[in-house]
């Protein structure tokens, strides 16, 4: 054996000693359950009895209207809430940038909702919109709102929009703001000398430089949209929502209310694949950034 390969063997051994606790937990708590989920998804089930059925569950899911209907809310969030939030957060971050010192109070307040669990946000906002307690109803009626109730099923997507924007806009603005302030001053100064205005500098110089951050944020929020559970779950306490209101709610109720574990496992696998495709871009960039220069 040459000394080079011997040395590599030695470092490999050392590296895996440091990796051992993580890998053990990772295999036990992540890889094995996913493998088990994949296996279960190929089984039929009645009560405790299970038998192999191949891809039967998947064929049935593709014909299950309730499964596809569950994607209405994620689609709404993906095409309305996420773009709206990124736009709003970008504008807010540009405003933060104009007052780096005096704006810290605003940055604190805007970030605050991010610490609040979705469940508590769901409780408080659902009470705020509830018929018995809503302080908003008199206000909205003053502005000519005609409806009898605020918290009705047709209004739930809008209320979800308000809750989720409340939770994540400030945090998103903070993330964008931290990349904004890392852009060298010379860039905008040079553009200013060439006679560019505030908006021109913002759109032609800053936003293109934010591209990577915005794409990453878009992907994380898209993944969040596919998985939304806590907020509609809590709203469901005050307004009747179908058990397939979101994919996660449908998986939960299929498994734990109806006891169809293997069917739910197959839906989980589909959701995992969709998520994985969304995240490929982030993964590629992350691996390149951290290890690319070295190995």
């Amino acid at each position: 054996m040459t000394s080079v390969t011997k040395k590599k063997l030695m470092t490999t051994l050392k590296a895996y000693l440091f990796l051992a606790p993580f890998l053990a937990l990772f295999i036990l708590m992540v890889i094995y359950p996913i493998g088990l989920g994949a296996k279960l998804s190929l089984y039929g089930q009645r009560g405790a009895r299970m038998w192999y059925v191949g891809f039967d569950n998947y064929f049935r899911i593709f014909q299950d209207k309730k499964f596809w209907e569950a994607f209405k809310i994620p689609a709404f969030l993906l095409f309305v809430q996420v773009p709206l939030m990124l736009l709003l957060a970008t504008i807010v971050s540009l405003m933060f940038e104009t007052r780096k010192r005096s704006g810290s109070v605003f940055r604190f307040i805007y970030y605050l909702p991010y610490c609040i669990p979705g469940i508590v946000a769901g409780i408080v906002w659902s009470y705020i919109f509830s018929d018995s307690m809503s302080p908003l109803k008199p206000l909205l009626q003053f502005f000519g709102y005609q409806g009898e109730k605020l918290l009705t099923r047709p209004n739930v997507p809008l209320i979800l929009l308000i809750i989720i924007l409340w939770e994540f806009t400030g945090y998103t603005a903070f993330v964008i703001y931290s990349s904004l302030i890392s852009i060298p001053r010379e860039y905008s100064e040079a553009a200013q000398l060439d006679g560019a205005g505030f908006w021109q500098i913002a759109f032609k110089i800053k936003i293109p430089l934010l591209k990577d951050v915005l794409i990453t944020l878009f992907i994380f929020n898209a993944i969040g949209a596919i998985q939304v559970f806590n907020e509609p779950w809590m709203l469901g306490g005050l307004v009747v929502l179908p058990n397939n209101y979101t994919p996660a709610m449908y998986i939960y109720s299929s498994a734990f209310s109806q006891g169809r574990f293997t069917y739910a496992a197959a839906m989980g696998m589909i959701l995992a694949c969709v998520t994985f495709v969304f995240s490929l871009w982030v993964l590629r960039t992350a691996a390149k950034q951290l290890l690319g220069s070295k190995s």
Binding site: Y16, F18, A121, A248, A255
Partner: protein
Amino acid sequence: MSKRVMVGIGVTAILVALAVYFIFPFYWLVIGITKDVGQLFQKSLLPGVPSHLRENIQRVFAYENGVFFKWLGNSFLYATVGSVTGVTVAALAGFAFRRYDFFLKKPLFILILGFSMVPGYATTLPLFMMFRDLRLIDTRWAVLLPAFVNVFGVYMMVAYFNQITDDMFDAAEIDGANDFAIFLRIAFPNIVPGFITLVLLSFVGSWNNFFLPLVVLNSRAKMPLILGITTITDPQGFPVYNLTLTASFFTILPLLIMFTALQRYFRPQLYVR
């Protein structure tokens, strides 16, 4: 008025309007816990008169023989043990990726990152089946063990360790330090602020994690606050709004105190919830 002043006023107006939106639920929660149900139904935006704050707090604390304090203790246990263990394990793994060039390094890193994106709803269900076979359902381990895996922590740790130069490691190696001593004396002290940030983020993540305990726990005595507060009802099973609100307030209070006191550690990271 000059154009600049006008723009300044406009920006302030928008920032204030959005601040009202972000503050409003906090305000409504704080005035809400001073009211009994009758006062809540009056839909006022002012605190309850007379104030029922003391009574609400007493009733939450006394609810079901003080189960509230069990939830609080559980939340602290799950969040503290989960975050410190998870981030420590992640630090060791991150160090391996930073320091060594080893067999299967890149594929392993991509594999770990890849699985980090798999949604909790896909793993929680098989986890439930696995814990059921291991007879761990309705035990504290069922909430703790998954929290020990912090994939995002590994990713961030590699980034933190990347800021330490090779020279520093090499110098320590020439001085005869063994690999674990290098980790303890060179690598770790240099990333302490990052370590604290990750522990805090992971603490908040565990504190707020609802889905996993919902699936793996049945008995109320083992629930964390976030799950416990959703089970508050009167003996007939109807919701008691003022108690749920008061309990919600105490669920977020530790987070708000932590966030305010340790603000400089809560640097925004692209954290997946």
